[in-house]
């Protein structure tokens, strides 16, 4: 048992597929909330093998994609300062800001480093006491505990040259906003398995009730996703409306209490701007006042600086302007599929992304480019 291959086993996949075909009588539109699930759906061609009656609407669950352009610009500004090392997850380096991206800044000499884990950020700070190390921390609830622990570690180890530029988002409030949209056509939800591993799924019950929409906590392997679809379609066909958990090997109703306590210790809720969607009240996490000393926004007085003006002094021309063609906002809200974008696969490719959903491997545009280009 490796908890991986078994869930990719073709006989398992086939048996669930047959059951789905058997029970589906009506048209159903379901949203997979998490970008990781979008990636699996495209990779294993699940949308095409399922009955035509079932269609997937791809959700906004890619933290790289929804990080606001202002935050990218702030990171670019900070990376340009003397004696600063900026560290972040790889995908963040390629997301276009207003003038440039972090990878270009790195090529131009800024000390920007790619991280696999926030643990490395602390190590870099300890090894570079004469520098200020700034971690550009993004992520959903899945990543929030690791980001929070980095601040707790810095505090315990008395590392005082470590700071966080924080742009974290939470799923439930954003989901509520999408479902409140007048044009909403989503009838069922596949809930994000790893967000729920941390948070549990109790906070989704009010949403399910309010919008009368069934939901299933779902994993990421093909058999997991099909099983999630099966359980969701069964609820829809039987006119049932609750939350079922089909990722029981990892998700408990109350989540991981330890991880939730760590998030709460370091972060509290704030309003957050989602790229392509807009401001969503209460959908972000910010550093609590008790840990203000680690907040890069405070340390570098970012609220008093006109960031765009500062960056424009260095980057004279707006070199990146995908905004006129990029329909990332519609893609992230599930209103349009990536291949409906006029730039998709032509001006916009993973090698030359115009928008964030083409950058991140979990972005819907990148998933389509990789696995469904010919459609």
């Amino acid at each position: 048992m490796k908890y991986l291959d078994e869930y990719r086993d073709s006989s398992n996949i086939k048996s669930i597929y047959l059951k789905i075909c058997e029970i589906t009588t009506k048209q159903w539109r379901i949203m997979e909330v998490c970008g990781g699930q979008t990636h699996s759906i495209m990779k294993y061609n699940l949308e095409n093998i399922l009955p035509d009656k079932i269609s997937f609407i791809h959700g906004p669950g890619c933290p790289v994609c929804v990080t606001p352009i202002e935050m990218i610009d702030k990171a670019i500004y900070l990376a340009g300062l003397e004696d600063v090392i900026l560290v972040s997850y790889g995908d963040m380096l390629r997301v276009p800001g207003t003038y440039t991206d972090l990878l270009t800044c790195k090529a131009n000499g800024a000390d920007i480093r790619m991280l696999y884990s926030p643990l490395q950020a602390i190590k870099i700070a300890v090894e570079n006491k004469d520098k200020k190390v700034i971690f550009f921390a993004v992520g959903f609830e899945t990543t929030a505990p690791a980001n929070a622990l980095s601040i707790i570690s810095a505090n315990k180890q008395k590392v005082n040259n470590y700071f966080m530029l924080c742009s974290q988002v939470t799923v439930p409030t954003a989901l509520e906003l999408l479902l409140s949209n007048r044009n909403n056509v989503i009838q069922g939800l596949l809930l994000p398995g790893h967000v729920c591993t941390v948070m549990g799924y109790e906070e989704y019950f009010p949403i399910v009730e309010k919008f009368n929409i069934p939901a299933v906590v779902t994993g990421f392997e093909p058999a997991d996703i099909l099983n999630g679809v099966y359980t969701l379609i069964k609820q829809l066909e039987d006119d049932e409306c609750t939350i079922k958990n089909e990722y029981k090997r990892l998700v408990r109703k109350e989540g991981n209490k330890q991880a939730k306590a760590i998030i709460n210790e370091v972060f509290d809720k704030c309003d957050q701007h989602w790229r392509g969607i807009g401001n969503i009240p209460g959908s972000g996490l910010r550093i609590r006042d008790e840990y203000l000393a680690y907040n890069a926004e405070i340390e570098f007085g970012l609220s008093k600086i006109n960031i765009i003006e500062e960056i424009s002094k260095i980057y004279k021309n707006k070199i990146i302007d995908g905004s006129s063609v990029c329909i990332a906002g519609e893609v992230l809200q599930g209103i349009a599929k990536p291949n409906k974008c006029p730039a998709f696969g032509i001006e916009c490719t993973p090698g030359h992304p115009l928008g964030a959903p083409m950058v991140s491997s979990e972005g819907a545009c990148a998933a389509y480019f990789r696995y469904a280009k010919e459609d």
């Binding site: 048992m1 490796k2 908890y3 991986l4 078994e6 086993d9 006989s11 398992n12 086939k14 048996s15 669930i16 047959l18 059951k19 058997e22 998490c34 970008g35 990781g36 669950g61 890619c62 933290p63 790289v64 997850y89 995908d91 696999y116 884990s117 926030p118 643990l119 490395q120 993004v138 992520g139 959903f140 899945t142 990543t143 505990p145 690791a146 622990l149 570690s153 315990k156 180890q157 994000p192 790893h194 967000v195 591993t197 941390v198 990421f220 058999a223 099983n227 099966y230 089909e246 029981k248 090997r249 990892l250 998700v251 991981n256 330890q258 991880a259 760590i262 991140s360 979990e362």
Partner: protein, 76 residues
Amino acid sequence: MCLAIPGKIISQEERENLKMAKVSFGGAIREVCLDLVPEAKDGDYVIVHVGYALNIIDDNEAVETLKLFEELEACG
């Protein structure tokens, strides 16, 4: 970015106030922090995201899910 993969805890040690472990991902060994799952033991499977174990995989539930797949096949 919510990618998380299962691995098996090989050994554990306390370092710089952190509960660290060597975790095998199908043979490839990486360092993982267990601070979010302090109750984890050697031999447990955990799901790992950005260097941290997010939770322990419940073996009984994993087997139950696979049994369910078999049942679907049997009645399908």
